[in-house]
C-alpha cells in the first residue's frame, strides 16, 4: 500500500451545488503531487474531505489506508496542513500559535522551528491581528514545516508570499521531500507546480480531467518555436499540427503539437536556420487547453 492518498469517485454536494463530482486522486509515497485547478474547481473541498472536516457523500477516500472521517485525529498526527487563507486569533502572537498547533499535533522540532523562523524572517511577537496576509501564511508554514510529519497538505500555500519567501518555501519543500516526505500541493501558480511536482492532477468542475507525470502531460501540449531563417520555409502549412503560423521576411513563429515537433523542425532547417529558440510546453498552456475549451463552450452556448 504505497498510496498516501487514494480517492476514487468522490462526490460532495452542498445543498444543490455539486462541489465534487466523481473526483479521483492518488498520491504516492515520497512524491510531490501537484493539484491544479482554477478557483472553485474543488481543490479545497477535496483537502477538507481528506482532513475529515467534510464528510464524503459518495466514493472511496483513503488516507494512509484509513478512513479520514473516522480516524481523523490519529491520522492528523502524521500530517501537517497549511490553508490558503490563514485566520489567526487576534490576541495570540504568531509564536504562541505555532507552539499551540505544534503541541496539538504531538510536538514540534525546536531546532527546525528556530531555523524556519530565521529563514522566513518571521517576528513571533506580533499579535494575530497585526500580521499581513503573507506573514499569517508564514505562521502556518512554520507551524507545519517544524512538525515531525510524513505528509504535508498545502492548499495554495504561497498566496501572499513575496518571491524571496516563495524561494525559501520551495527549498523547504525540496528538503522535506529529500527526507522521504510526501506532499500534496494545491495551487494555481503553475511555475510553482512545475518546479516542485513529480506528478500532477488537474481538476475542473469537481472532477479530475488529467493526471500523470510532468513528462506524460507534456504530450498533450504544444511546443512553441521561433526561428530566423535564410528563406521562406516550405511545407509548414501542410502539417495539420502546426498552429498560429507566422512567416515574416526571415522570421518564422509557430506552435506545434509536441509529437510532430520533428517534422516541423525539418521544414525549418531546410530553410537554413540562423537562430532558433524553442520553448518547452508549460503547464500554463496545458491549463489553457483544459480550461480554454470551457470558455469556447460558453461562447458557443
Amino acid at each position: 500500500m504505497d498510496d498516501v492518498v487514494a480517492i476514487s469517485g468522490l462526490v460532495k454536494t452542498f445543498g444543490r451545488t455539486r462541489a465534487l463530482d466523481g473526483l479521483d486522486l492518488s498520491v504516492r509515497r515520497g512524491e510531490v503531487h501537484g493539484f491544479l485547478g482554477p478557483n472553485g474547481a474543488g481543490k479545497s473541498t477535496t483537502i477538507r474531505v481528506l482532513l475529515g472536516l467534510l464528510r464524503a457523500d459518495a466514493g472511496q477516500v483513503r488516507l494512509f489506508g484509513a478512513d479520514p472521517w473516522r480516524d481523523a485525529a490519529a491520522l492528523h498526527r502524521r500530517l501537517a496542513y497549511v490553508p490558503g487563507d490563514v485566520n489567526l486569533w487576534p490576541n495570540l502572537t504568531g509564536g504562541e500559535v505555532i507552539d499551540l498547533l505544534g503541541k496539538l499535533r504531538g510536538g514540534l522540532d525546536e531546532t527546525r522551528r528556530a531555523a524556519l523562523m530565521e529563514r522566513f524572517e518571521l517576528d513571533p511577537t506580533k499579535k494575530g491581528r497585526a500580521y499581513s496576509k503573507g506573514n499569517r501564511q508564514k505562521v502556518a508554514l512554520v507551524a507545519a514545516l517544524s512538525s515531525d510529519v510524513e505528509f504535508l497538505m498545502l492548499d495554495e500555500p504561497t498566496s501572499g508570499l513575496d518571491p524571496l519567501m516563495e524561494a525559501v518555501f520551495t527549498e523547504c519543500v525540496d528538503e522535506f521531500k529529500q527526507g522521504g516526505g510526501t506532499v500534496l500541493l494545491s495551487s494555481h501558480i503553475l511555475a510553482e507546480v512545475e518546479r516542485l511536482c513529480d506528478r500532477v492532477s488537474i481538476v475542473r468542475n469537481g472532477a479530475t480531467v488529467e493526471t500523470g507525470t510532468m513528462a506524460q502531460l507534456r504530450h498533450l501540449t504544444r511546443t512553441s518555436v521561433r526561428a530566423e531563417v535564410d528563406r521562406r520555409p516550405q511545407g509548414l502549412e501542410q502539417i495539420a499540427e502546426v498552429h498560429n503560423l507566422v512567416v515574416e521576411d526571415h522570421r518564422v513563429e509557430f506552435e506545434v503539437d509536441s509529437d510532430r515537433l520533428g517534422a516541423a523542425l525539418e521544414a525549418v532547417t531546410a530553410a537554413g536556420v540562423r537562430t532558433l529558440t524553442s520553448q518547452p510546453p508549460t503547464l500554463e498552456e496545458l491549463f489553457l487547453r483544459h480550461y480554454g475549451d470551457r470558455v469556447e463552450q460558453h461562447e458557443a452556448e
Binding site: A74, N91, K103, A130
Partner: protein
C-alpha cells in the same frame, strides 16, 4: 457634500441594510419594555388605595432606587413606567448603538474590509460619519416607538415625548462615546469593553447619586435622561446636556481619528510573547485563554449584583408587607417573606447567568465561522476534545458564576444585617438553579451541533424564561406555557425545601441535550 464625507450616502444605505433587523428587534424590545410596564402596573393595582400603598412602600426603598432611578410620582402609571423602564431602556439603546458603531468602524478596520471600502471614492470621514448617522437614526426609531406606543396606550403626550426624546439622545450620546472608544485600540473587543465599562459606570454613578444627595447623578448621561422628569413635571433642559455630550464626543472622535492611521489604534499594539506559555499547551488552554475574560466579567458582575440585592437585607419585610406589586414579582409562596424574596432574587441572577452560559456555549460557533477551527482540527486534536474544552468552561463557568452570585447575596445580606448564617442557604439558592441554566446552554450546544446556521436561536429560550418570570403571573399565562420554562420545575430555595428529584431530572435532561449536541457536531461538516 464636503470631500471628507463623499460616499457617505452609499455607506449609510449599506449600513441600514446590514442593521435593519437589529434595529427592528431593539425597537420592539425597548417599546415592549416601556409599554409592558404601563400594562402590568394598571393590571396589578385595581384600586387607588392599593396603588398608593404600593407606591409608598417603594418610595423609600434604597435598593429599588439604586436599581431603577429616583422615585417620582410612583402612584401614577406614567411615573411607574418612567421609574421602572427608563434606566434599562437607556442601557438597551446604549448597547444597540455600541454594537452598530463598533461593527461599522473598528470591526471593519480589523477585518480589513474597511481598506477595500476606502479604496473607493470614499471620504476619510465618510465611514465613521455614516456609522454615527445610522446609529442616531436607529435611536430615533426606538425613541419614536416608545413615544407612539405610550401615547397610543393613553398616557400623556408630554411624558411620552420626554421618554422618547431622551432615549434618542441617549443613543446619540453613547454613540459618540462608542465612536471615541473605536479610535483608541485596534481591537473591536477592546472597543466594546471600553464602551461597556462607560455604560456600566454611568449606571453606577446615577445609582449612587440617586440614593445619596444626587450630585453624582449629574455626572451620568442616564442620570440626565431621568432628570427630564417624564410624567412628573417634564423639564427639557437636561436634554441639552445629552445633545452637548453627543457633539463633544463626535468632535473628539473626529480629532482622534485625524491623529491615527487607518487600521491602527491610538494606543499602539505591544509585542506579545514569542513562545506559548504553559497555559497554552492544549485546546482546553486555548479555550480558557479565549473565554476567561468574559467569564471573569460575568462572574464579577453577578457577584456585585448579588451583593446589591443582598444589601436590601431584611428590609424586604416592610417592603413586601402590603404591596401586591412586590408580592407578584417576588413572592414565591413560601412562609418566610425574606426567604421568598431571596429565592426570587436568586432566580433573577440565574437568568442573568444564562447570558454567560449561552454566550459561552456559542463560542465554538464564533470560532468556527472565524475560520479558527480548521487549523486546529487538522492536528492531532479530535472534534470531541476541541468542543469539550469549550463546554467544560461553559459548564464550570456557569457553576462558578452562580456560586458567586449566591455568595454575593449572602455577603450583602450579612453586611447589612450582621447575620452571616444566610450565606450558605443563599449560595445554594443560586446553585440549585444550575440545572436549568445548564439546560439552556445545552440547547445552544445542540443547535450548534445540529443546525449551526440557526445557532443564535439559542437566545430565544432565555427570552421565553425571562418573559415567564417577569410577566407570566401578571399576564396570567396558562400554567402549561409557564411549565415549559425549566426554572418553574426547580424549587424556590431557600423558601421551599429542595426537590432533589426535579433537580436531578432537569440536570439529566441538560446532560442528555448537551451530549446530543456533541454527538451531532461529531457527525457534521466543519467549515
Amino acid at each position: 457634500m464636503p470631500a471628507s464625507t463623499v460616499g457617505g450616502r452609499v455607506l449609510i444605505a449599506a449600513f441600514v441594510r446590514r442593521d435593519r433587523w437589529m434595529v427592528v428587534w431593539f425597537t420592539i424590545g425597548v417599546t415592549i419594555l416601556f409599554w409592558a410596564q404601563a400594562y402590568s402596573v394598571d393590571g396589578l393595582y385595581r384600586t387607588r388605595a392599593e396603588f398608593d400603598r404600593a407606591a409608598a412602600s417603594m418610595d423609600h426603598n434604597t435598593a429599588f432606587i439604586a436599581m431603577a432611578g429616583p422615585a417620582r410620582a410612583l402612584n401614577t402609571t406614567g411615573g411607574q413606567v418612567t421609574w421602572q423602564a427608563s434606566a434599562f431602556g437607556a442601557i438597551a439603546v446604549a448597547l444597540m448603538v455600541m454594537f452598530m458603531i463598533g461593527r461599522h468602524t473598528r470591526a471593519e478596520e480589523e477585518s480589513g474590509r474597511d481598506e477595500l471600502v476606502r479604496s473607493g471614492v470614499v471620504g476619510r470621514l465618510a465611514p465613521m460619519v455614516a456609522a454615527y448617522v445610522v446609529a442616531c437614526g436607529a435611536s430615533l426609531v426606538v425613541g419614536l416607538g416608545v413615544t407612539i406606543s405610550l401615547v397610543a396606550y393613553g398616557l400623556g403626550a408630554a411624558g411620552a415625548i420626554a421618554l422618547g426624546l431622551g432615549l434618542f439622545l441617549c443613543g446619540t450620546a453613547f454613540g459618540a462615546i462608542a465612536l471615541v472608544a473605536a479610535q483608541l485600540t485596534s481591537s473591536t473587543r477592546a472597543a466594546y469593553g471600553i464602551t461597556g465599562a462607560v455604560i456600566g459606570a454611568t449606571y453606577a454613578l446615577r445609582a449612587i447619586g440617586d440614593v445619596g444627595n444626587g450630585a453624582l447623578s449629574w455626572l451620568s448621561p442616564i442620570g440626565w435622561y431621568q432628570a427630564m422628569h417624564a410624567y412628573s413635571g417634564e423639564r427639557w433642559w437636561p436634554a441639552a446636556l445629552l445633545a452637548v455630550l453627543s457633539i463633544v464626543g463626535v468632535v473628539l472622535a473626529v480629532a482622534l481619528f485625524r491623529h491615527r492611521d487607518v487600521g491602527a489604534g491610538l494606543w499602539p499594539d505591544r509585542p506579545g510573547p514569542s513562545r506559548a506559555g504553559a497555559g497554552l499547551a492544549s485546546s482546553f488552554g486555548l479555550a480558557w485563554q479565549l473565554q476567561r475574560g468574559s467569564l471573569f466579567g460575568w462572574a464579577a458582575g453577578l457577584f456585585l449584583g448579588g451583593v446589591a440585592y443582598g444589601t436590601i437585607g431584611d428590609d424586604v419585610k416592610s417592603l413586601i408587607g402590603d404591596s401586591s406589586f412586590a408580592k407578584d414579582v417576588f413572592s414565591t409562596g413560601g412562609p418566610d417573606i425574606v426567604d421568598s424574596f431571596y429565592a426570587a432574587s436568586a432566580l433573577m441572577l440565574a437568568l442573568v447567568a444564562c447570558g454567560f452560559a449561552i454566550a459561552s456555549a456559542l463560542r465554538p460557533r464564533a470560532e468556527e465561522s472565524a475560520g479558527h477551527v480548521e487549523p486546529l482540527l487538522s492536528t492531532g486534536l479530535g472534534r470531541g476534545r476541541w468542543l469539550g474544552g469549550h463546554l467544560l468552561i461553559a459548564g464550570a463557568g456557569t457553576v462558578l458564576a452562580l456560586t458567586l452570585s449566591g455568595l454575593g447575596l449572602g455577603v450583602g445580606f450579612a453586611l447589612v444585617t450582621g447575620d452571616s448564617g444566610r450565606v450558605g442557604p443563599f449560595t445554594w439558592a443560586a446553585l440549585s438553579l444550575a440545572p436549568a441554566v445548564l439546560l439552556l446552554a445545552a440547547i445552544a450546544v445542540l443547535l450548534y451541533g445540529a443546525l449551526p446556521q440557526w445557532a443564535s436561536l439559542a437566545w430565544l429560550p432565555l427570552v421565553f424564561c425571562v418573559v415567564v418570570m417577569m410577566f407570566g403571573a401578571a399576564l396570567r399565562f396558562p400554567s402549561w406555557i409557564m411549565g415549559v420554562s425549566p426554572f418553574r420545575h426547580l424549587s424556590s430555595v431557600p423558601a421551599d425545601p429542595e426537590n432533589w428529584a426535579h433537580f436531578a431530572t432537569v440536570l439529566a435532561l441538560a446532560v442528555v441535550v448537551g451530549v446530543a449536541g456533541v454527538f451531532t457536531f461529531d457527525r457534521r461538516d466543519v467549515h
